[in-house]
Amino acid sequence: MKKLLNSLFVTSPDVYLSLNGENIVVKKEKERIGRVPLHNLEAVYTFGYSGASPSLMGACAEKDISLVFLTKNGRFLARVIGESKGNVVLRKTQYRISDDEQLSATIARNFIIGKIYNNKWILERATRDYSLRIDVSLFKETSKRLSETIQEVGSVRDLDLLRGYEGQAAIMYNKVFDQMILQQKEDFFFKGRNRRPPLDNVNAMLSFAYTLLANDVATALEGVGLDAYVGFLHRDRPGRASLALDVMEELRGVYADRFVISLINKKVVNNNDFVAKENGAVIMTDQSRKKFLKAWQDKKQEKIKHPYLGEKISWGLVPHVQSMLLARHLRGDLDEYPPFLWK
């Protein structure tokens, strides 16, 4: 199995990245403040507007290191992609399926099954671990209804219907989400999802986690030769990594939501880590973003057993493995796309 390498997060907004030999050199106002060898890096995330030299971009593209530019607040700007692998055949299959709503639906269905299944088990785990703190009967009831939805989704062959079921399941899950926040309740609450801008601490963190995850997934998809911008469930829209969003569906809850909840419940973050702007937008402070990224990196190292492969892998490789499995399905090796079904 592929090895998980390190990610480099460059959080100061006013630094410039360049290449020196086989190293990334980080410069601030012409002064060198850091130097990192490229060879054990998998991804570089920069937060800010300064940029990187074309020679560094070239080196990253060549070595399959994903180089991602985000705004200071973690909004996605651009990603450097190298020459794609010689997988024209695979991409053509992907485009052909994407053009066909019915074929798309059979793959999209499994993303949704994965998503609802995982969210169901998030609730089940919560009832097991915190039975005295949460409304167990409500959780059990929601879990049961999610199970029923999964069964119904199993026979759906229509994208709009699928989206309908997905929306329904999301409403049920979001209704109980707030109860899983067990600490610092006055500062951290979930009344519903909002973004652009996020209006509370929890949404600010969710947005940030989703951005990171979306990039990891997009990079993994491109890495196996798929086009991250052509999706099955999410239709093409300029500049939108639709396939990355598709694959991400099943990982949102189990990867990003749980991560955010645990930062709150373990009190890794607190209210001082957030600033509310005049327009109501809530942003994370530089300090809290650093804590967040550190924890994100640690989470990637944690091991789990992949439910379909049965192999132990780290969380950080899950996007890569799912991308590979999707490619193998498109190639005809697998009868269906196996979603990541977590429990």
């Binding site: 199995m1 592929k2 692998k85 010689g86 997988n87 055949v89 695979l90 499994n110 099954i113 299944y117 199970s147 999964i150 069964q151 199993g154 196996v224 030769g225 439910p307 379909y308 492969l309 049965g310 192999e311 590979m324 499995l325 193998r328 399905h329 190639r331 005809g332 090796d333 697998l334 009868d335 269906e336 796309y337 196996p338 979603p339 079904l341 429990k343």
Partner: protein
């Protein structure tokens, strides 16, 4: 056989195909290789081409290195490491030369003779290309094994030619369908450089629909 150049397969693919059909398809159909094989071969030709086309004359021999060869019948192209043209009155005339010759392909291998006969089949395929290009008969070739430090004589047999034809027919059918076959995995997978993209484990796995069904009914 399609003589369109794009459909030509590489002679060197015989090695991969013999080792594992899936490995061959991953490399030649899916091009899942750090470096696409064609570019590797391209560099190979290039390196040799940079030197003046080496043609030595030794007594009754003309030695040509890195000779590109091709066969319409097989739908294949490749490069012979060395072809020795031996003067022979029963041979065929070649360009810029008064004598007639029989070509003898010589292939260089790093290791020692393999258990499978992929080296022999590759040599046979080269011989078939030469026969087709020069309209002659090639009855013998050599493989030089670096570890043995000497060459082994290989008769070009009818039986091996039949095998080569069958092999290319099969490779073409996979290639035309852009199909990567599933195969029986085994100990050879351990030494396969493409394990990560092949995921040999997948071939032993239950169907995905059963996996999903089992999981959601647990």
């Amino acid at each position: 056989m399609d003589s369109n150049e794009e459909a030509d397969l590489l002679l060197s693919g015989i090695q991969h195909f013999q080792f594992c059909k899936r490995q061959w398809a991953l490399i030649h159909v899916e091009q899942q290789w750090e470096e696409n094989v064609r570019t590797v071969e391209g560099q190979h030709i290039h390196k040799k081409a940079d030197q003046p086309f080496i043609k030595e004359k030794r007594k009754n021999k003309l030695i040509v290195r890195a000779l590109p060869v091709q066969s319409d019948e097989l739908g294949a192209t490749g490069i012979c490491d060395v072809v020795e043209f031996i003067e022979d009155k029963d041979g065929v005339p070649i360009q810029n030369s008064k004598e007639s010759y029989v070509p003898v392909p010589v292939e260089y291998k790093r290791g020692k003779p393999k258990k499978d006969n992929s080296d022999i089949l590759q040599l046979t395929a080269q011989a078939m290309c030469l026969e087709e290009m020069l309209l002659c008969e090639v009855s013998v070739g050599y493989i030089f094994y670096n570890e043995l430090k000497h060459r082994v004589e290989i008769p070009i047999t009818h039986l091996n030619k039949v095998k080569v034809r069958q092999m290319f027919r099969e490779m073409h059918s996979y290639f035309d369908d852009r199909h990567t076959p599933k195969v029986k995995t085994g100990p050879h997978c351990k030494s396969c450089s493409l394990q990560n993209v092949c995921l040999p484990e997948l071939m032993k796995k239950q169907s995905v629909s059963k996996y999903i069904e089992r999981k959601i009914n647990e």
